[in-house]
């Protein structure tokens, strides 16, 4: 994914040194540099208040950067008003115009561009066919369900073939099942139209499902931009490791560093070998990250096959249908999760002492939390 391996598509959008403050004291976005490639589906992911929505609003033109410049197709757009940016947008609450019918809503961006009547009719019909809602053309938005309204909002944002489509938590108001269905529909739409989509969400599973690349925001800074699998496997710091997927944290101190690996003395006792991802050197405090599905539980303490074996005590087991979780007490962390095959949790009575093992490459030494 680094430059040189594959020639990346040219950047459609470039954020260059963007800063944004609302009150003149706190920067909501601190020094953002971000390239969005033509045709990609990029997600801005982060907790609320991390600056992701502000970034989207600056791109849409509803907020002006305090510092820096945004380029759209190599043209600076900081001072271009929103209606001249040629960017489609889907809002969290759909923002369908309640006094217009579905067909009129979809026709709106075409009619303000003064397209011919016949052209508008053809394209509205095509858009309605795309979202499979031809029969709803003359209904009002208020008569539609949430999912249908969302489809119309999508069609309206796409019908004028914008260079870029922005989506601001568009599925936030839908229930889980519908949300998952819409995720797939949006992804399919992206694949068939090839349009560039910038998607904002705080839901990491939504981001993993849909995105080509994800930019993880925290505290006004992009922590990491990468493909979904790379973010999960190779987080650059504790925040990303914690925000994407489930994660166990063990605090400790680095004893020795040897090329890519290091030995860490755990605060709760014991030492383990870990991949040195984000440690400054020997003596530095660190925070280890281990995914629940990369840990195995063994009963026999003497069976020594790996360097990482720690004693653990079963606190609890949770049955979750397709899998089960064991909650263990490991080196002072009372909420250490281990993913099990369904059924395996029966053999782990509460209070039993066991051992856990994991490979050094599955244990990441990151910045202290």
């Amino acid at each position: 994914m680094e430059a040189g391996m594959v020639t990346p598509a040219p950047a459609l959008v470039r954020f260059s040194g963007i800063q944004k403050t609302y009150d003149g004291e706190h920067l909501v976005v601190k020094n953002l540099d971000l390239d969005i490639r033509k045709g990609e589906f990029i997600t801005l992911l982060g907790p609320s208040g991390s600056g992701k929505t502000t970034t989207l609003m600056m791109l849409a033109g509803f907020e002006v950067p305090t510092h820096g410049e945004i380029y759209l197709a190599d043209r600076p757009i900081k001072n271009v008003p929103p209606h001249k940016r040629d960017i489609g947008m889907v809002f969290q609450n759909y923002a369908l115009f309640p006094h217009l019918t579905i067909a009129e809503n979809i026709a709106f961006p075409l009619s303000v561009r003064k397209s011919s009547k016949a052209d508008v009719q053809d394209r509205v019909r095509a858009a309605l066919r795309m979202i499979k809602m031809e029969t709803f053309a003359h209904r009002r938005p208020g008569q539609l369900s949430g999912g249908q309204q969302q489809r119309v909002a999508l069609a309206r944002a796409l019908v004028f073939n914008p260079q870029l489509v922005l989506m601001d938590e568009p599925l936030g108001a839908l229930d889980k099942r519908l949300r998952e269905q819409m995720q797939l529909e949006i992804k399919q739409l992206h694949e068939t139209t090839g349009i560039t989509i910038v998607y904002v969400t705080h839901d990491q599973s939504e981001a993993l499902t849909m995105s080509d690349r994800i930019a993880v925001f925290n505290d006004g800074i992009v922590q990491q931009i990468d493909k979904p699998d790379a973010l999960y496997e190779h987080p650059v710091n504790s925040f990303v490791a914690h925000f994407i997927g489930e994660n166990n944290v063990l605090p400790g101190t680095v004893e020795t560093v040897e090329r890519d690996y290091c030995r860490v003395a755990l605060a709760g006792g014991g030492t383990v070998a870990a991949r040195a991802v984000n440690v400054s050197g020997a003596g530095a405090s660190t925070s280890l990250s281990v995914r629940p599905e990369r840990v195995a539980i063994v009963r026999d303490g003497s069976a020594s096959e790996g360097p990482n074996r720690l004693p653990a005590k079963v606190q609890n087991t949770i049955y979750l249908g397709d899998h089960a979780l064991a909650v263990l007490d490991v080196a002072g962390n009372g909420e250490f999760m281990v993913k099990l095959q369904p059924g395996a949790h029966h053999g782990l009575p509460q209070g039993e002492c066991v051992f856990i093992t994991f490979r050094p490459e599955d244990c990441l030494a990151l910045d202290p939390v």
């Binding site: 509803f62 008003p81 209606h83 809002f91 759909y94 923002a95 115009f97 006094h99 961006p109 009002r140």
Partner: protein, 420 residues
């Protein structure tokens, strides 16, 4: 409330489930009814009752019947094509004598004088000069000698038409119409035909005030709906301030401001913009200014509530879809404020129609509205019939407007698309 009760009763016979539902709902509805009952009773006595009374007075006509009963009985068979026969004259003579004895001549004279100018003199002079009951067969001649008007067919049709017990006379008069000697409806003589132009003036002043309120109120309501809460609350206090001051005080304040030696004229003179004081009050300008000031909150508040319900996301969506600000405003924002514009305009217009104090204080003779004349007829000349008829016409116009508005609003029911 009563609607809900009625529809519930209609549907109850079909399905037992509906009946059960109605039974469970009934207690709740009765409770609700009990809660609004005091207001309903209050409204019945202070609102519905007086309006019914007013409508009745507009057609009530029993004064002449009470004073001249025998005359009217004798005229019952009269075809109106010629002068009535001797029996009518004799009946009239005996009625007049009886009325003079009981002192009720003036009542009939006043009513008949409305219909035929000068009738008061005819009746009172006859009463004065008729010493005793004329001899059998000479009544026609005697009365004709006392006042030649008794030889005029119109005098007699006037008495017959005022016979009651109900009449269209006042309502026709309120519309500048009258009945001629043959009972056909014709235009009133020009010197009496003032009410149509009066209604037109009332409507024109009300329309101008409504338009002014809309033009001035729309931006204020927009600010109120879009400013951050702290500042919009302050602004709201300024909007509501007029409600805390008496109408009379506010109107008089405009007199102080606008009179020829008032603040506005002094400032204009001092600035050298005008050479002599402008006439700003006791004319149409003063009336419109003062009424707009008084009625502005009634426009702003409905506008504000309709604008408050419009999410800023709509305007953002319109902009992101390529609409320039003006287009977005005209095609997205404005249509959604239409219910507010309608409600505000209707409220201001209807209130303005009935305005009395403000035009009376700051208007000239040519700016008096219909309420001024209604007040005049009730308090000065005690012509309750005409006052009620004018009121009834005004009420009818208002109800028609309200119905039209209701139809319009129903026609384009806006259902919200936002789910928050």
């Amino acid at each position: 409330m009563t609607d809900a009760l009625l529809t519930g009763a209609d549907a109850s016979t079909e399905v037992p489930l509906k009946r059960r539902l109605r039974r469970t709902e009934r207690t709740r509805q009765l409770k609700a009814l009990a809660l609004v009952a005091p207001l309903l009773v209050f409204l019945l006595f202070t609102f519905a009752g007086p309006i019914a009374g007013m409508l009745w007075r507009a057609v009530d006509d029993r004064e002449v019947r009470q004073v001249l009963p025998n005359t009217l009985a004798a005229l019952a068979g009269w075809d109106g094509k010629d002068l009535p026969d001797e029996t009518a004259y004799a009946a009239l003579a005996s009625d007049i004598l009886a009325a003079r004895a009981s002192g009720t001549i003036a009542i009939a004279a006043k009513r008949l004088n409305y219909a035929l100018n000068g009738f008061r003199t005819i009746l009172t002079s006859t009463a004065r000069n008729l010493k005793s009951e004329p001899e059998r067969g000479t009544a026609k001649e005697t009365l004709g000698r006392i006042n030649p008007a008794w030889r005029d067919r119109a005098t007699w049709t006037t008495i017959r038409d005022a016979g009651g017990p109900v009449t269209s006379f006042y309502l026709l008069a309120a519309l500048d119409l009258t009945r001629n000697v043959d009972g056909a409806i014709v235009a009133a003589p020009p010197d009496q035909a003032i009410y149509r132009s009066l209604f037109a003036r009332t409507f024109i002043i009300s329309l101008s005030v409504t338009a002014l309120c809309l033009i001035l109120g729309f931006p204020v309501a927009y600010l109120l709906a879009t400013l951050p809460p702290a500042r919009s609350n302050l602004l709201m206090i300024f909007v509501l301030l007029p409600f805390w001051t008496s109408l009379l005080v506010r109107t008089c304040a405009w007199i102080v401001l606008l009179q020829s030696k008032g603040v506005v004229n002094d400032s204009l003179l001092w600035l050298g913009i005008v050479d002599e004081p402008l006439r700003l009050i006791y004319n149409r300008f003063g009336v419109c200014v003062a009424m707009t000031h008084v009625l502005l909150p009634f426009m702003i508040l409905p506008l504000y509530s309709s604008m408050k319900a419009i999410s800023p996301a709509y305007m953002r969506a319109a902009a992101s879809l390529g609409a320039p600000p003006l287009t977005a405003f005209l095609r997205i924002y404005l249509p959604q404020t239409l219910p507010g514009i309608g409600a505000g305009s209707l409220l201001v217009f209807i209130l303005a129609l009935g305005y009395y104090i403000t035009p009376a204080l700051v208007g000239g003779a040519a700016d008096q509205m219909i309420s001024y004349f209604i007040a005049l007829y009730t308090t000065e000349t005690a012509n309750w019939g005409l006052a009620s008829a004018l009121g009834a016409v005004l009420l009818l116009a208002t109800v028609l407007l309200a119905l039209v508005y209701g139809k319009l609003v129903q026609g384009q029911q806006v259902t919200g698309g936002m789910k928050n």
